[in-house]
């Protein structure tokens, strides 16, 4: 088994991330905004309604959000590679497509994990405290799992697209709704039926819920259910992503 190509694909994602400071900082703006505007804006109301400390509730949601955005973006980057021609270089090489896909997915997910950790640290600054610091060690693999799921989903979608025209479409009709209807910002209890149904099929809901289970010890579905659902979703997106990627023609 030749791990070289997978390793350089992984390394490439990390190098690109480390070199684009603007992307790194830009990706931190959104979680910061949510922590400030919602954390401090809604916090008092949430507390008055008997929900407890809102920052505690919000932090896992914001961490999941940053992972969602970064990993989907990593997957969708294939469109850039196609447009700048680099995709061709990898596709004609004597390397199996699944190896290229796996290396790139691991790279994208690693970048998203790093981004998630940075946001986690920012949450600390805003007063977030997990029930126990050791639980952070459980949160990291969970964050990686969520990152893998959305990187493969991004890859699956981007493999079918020719140019960047579709990007706003993906942003507004997939990423944003996934975020807002995931329970990242509000509790899932007592939602109207329609919205509850959407949260039920939204993989991010389970990601957010699992992080809450681990970090603040409260959860809607329970950690085990979350984990099983996330793994099933990951299996589906991996199969779909690998298939779409293997069908690319340039």
């Amino acid at each position: 088994m030749n791990f070289g190509p997978m390793y350089v694909m992984w390394l490439r994602q990390l190098k690109r991330y480390a070199r684009s400071k603007s992307r790194m900082i830009g990706a931190l703006g959104q979680p910061l905004l949510f922590l400030i505007a919602l954390g401090f804006g809604f916090g008092p109301i949430y507390e008055k309604a008997g929900g407890g400390d809102y920052i505690q509730f919000l932090a896992p949601g914001v961490i999941a959000m940053s992972i969602l955005f970064t990993s989907m973006f990593s997957g969708i980057e294939i469109i850039w590679d196609r447009q700048f021609g680099f995709l061709k270089e990898t596709l004609v090489a004597p390397v199996h497509r699944w190896q290229i896909m796996l290396g790139r997915t691991l790279g994208g997910a690693t970048v998203a994990l790093i981004q998630g950790i940075i946001v986690l640290l920012i949450c600390f600054v805003f007063g977030f405290r997990p029930t126990h610091f050791l639980y952070l060690l459980v949160a990291l693999p969970l964050m990686f799992l969520i990152a893998l799921l959305f990187t493969t989903l991004g890859t699956a979608i981007a493999s079918r697209l020719d140019d960047m025209q579709a990007f706003p479409l993906i942003m507004n009709f997939l990423i944003m709704p996934m975020f807002f209807l995931s329970g990242a910002l509000f509790p899932l209890e007592g939602l109207p039926k329609g919205i509850a149904a959407v949260t039920l099929v939204n993989p991010l809901s389970y990601g957010v819920d699992s992080l809450r289970a681990v970090l603040i010890g409260s959860s809607h579905w329970g950690l085990l259910t979350d984990l099983v659902v996330l793994i099933v979703f990951l299996a589906l997106t991996s199969i779909w992503g690998t298939y779409s990627f293997s069908k690319i023609e340039v």
Partner: protein, 265 residues
């Protein structure tokens, strides 16, 4: 062993209503330098894409190193290297990193890897800029890097799609010297496309002239001149196709090609 390393029979590629490659057949012998000569939009790149597993043919048979690009993609990909006509570098990596990436993908290991990367970067005069990000490079520098990268691993068959487009004469000479050397020493077969007459005349053992998706004639340069009773290849082309290679007339087919490029496929 079969005498021909590339065999193409009745190859056709249709994009919707438009035939980019129209029923072409040709063979390339082991160890020869073969040129595909034709104006822009003649179907050269589409043919190369089909040979190198990037596009599926609409019809026809291809054998590359005795493998079928449609069903034995991995074996075919092990047999060739390619320098694309348009950009295929990673702009966010340095020149050296791009070279290294390619070496790993094609299993070129140290110390050979280091040796070849240094040699080739010096050959195309980019050694001093090896640590610069490719996005800071000019068009010509990117082109040179692209060619150097394609030569790191020494494949059985090397495809070069308009390799010298945008190269200065000096680099062009260096490149061809090196490729000819590989061709002689390692028996590497070279398949290149060009719309420069001089280049095809000077470098190629045999030439296929392609125009509007069809092969009009094939043979060695001397033969072509003899058959058409002309002195230069340029005149031979004029005689065979009825038009000069450099005129870019805006025919309806060219209009459709432009549309095709605009809409992706």
């Amino acid at each position: 062993m079969e005498e021909n390393i590339i065999v193409v029979k009745n190859l056709t590629k249709q994009f919707k209503a438009f035939k980019a490659v129209d029923d072409i057949s040709f063979n390339v012998h082991h160890g020869e330098i073969f040129a595909f000569l034709g104006p822009n939009g003649a179907g050269k790149t589409t043919t190369i894409k089909m040979l190198t597993t990037l596009l599926h043919p609409t019809q026809g048979v291809i054998r590359l190193n005795n493998f079928d690009p449609l069903h034995q993609q991995h074996e075919v990909r092990k047999s060739f290297g390619i320098v694309f006509q348009d950009a295929s570098l990673d702009d966010e990596l340095t020149a050296y990193e791009n070279m290294e990436f390619h070496a790993v993908f094609y299993k070129v290991k140290n110390p050979l890897k280091k040796e070849r990367i240094e040699y080739l970067l010096k050959l195309v005069d980019l050694w001093d800029r090896r640590k610069s990000l490719v996005k800071t490079f000019s068009g010509g520098m990117k082109r040179r890097l692209e060619i150097a990268r394609g030569l790191i691993h020494h494949p059985k068959i090397l495809f070069l799609d308009e390799p010298t487009l945008g190269l200065d004469p000096q680099t062009r000479n260096h490149m061809w010297e090196y490729i000819k050397q590989l061709n002689k020493k390692e028996g590497m077969t070279v398949f290149f496309t060009t719309h420069y007459m001089e280049e095809a005349d000077k470098v190629a053992d045999r030439i296929a002239i392609i125009d509007k998706g069809k092969i009009i004639h094939q043979g060695n340069p001397a033969e072509l001149k003899k058959i058409t009773k002309t002195k230069t290849l340029e005149e031979a082309f004029l005689k065979l196709t009825g038009r000069s290679i450099r005129t870019e007339e805006a025919s309806s087919i060219e209009g459709m090609r432009a549309m095709k490029k605009l809409w992706g496929r």
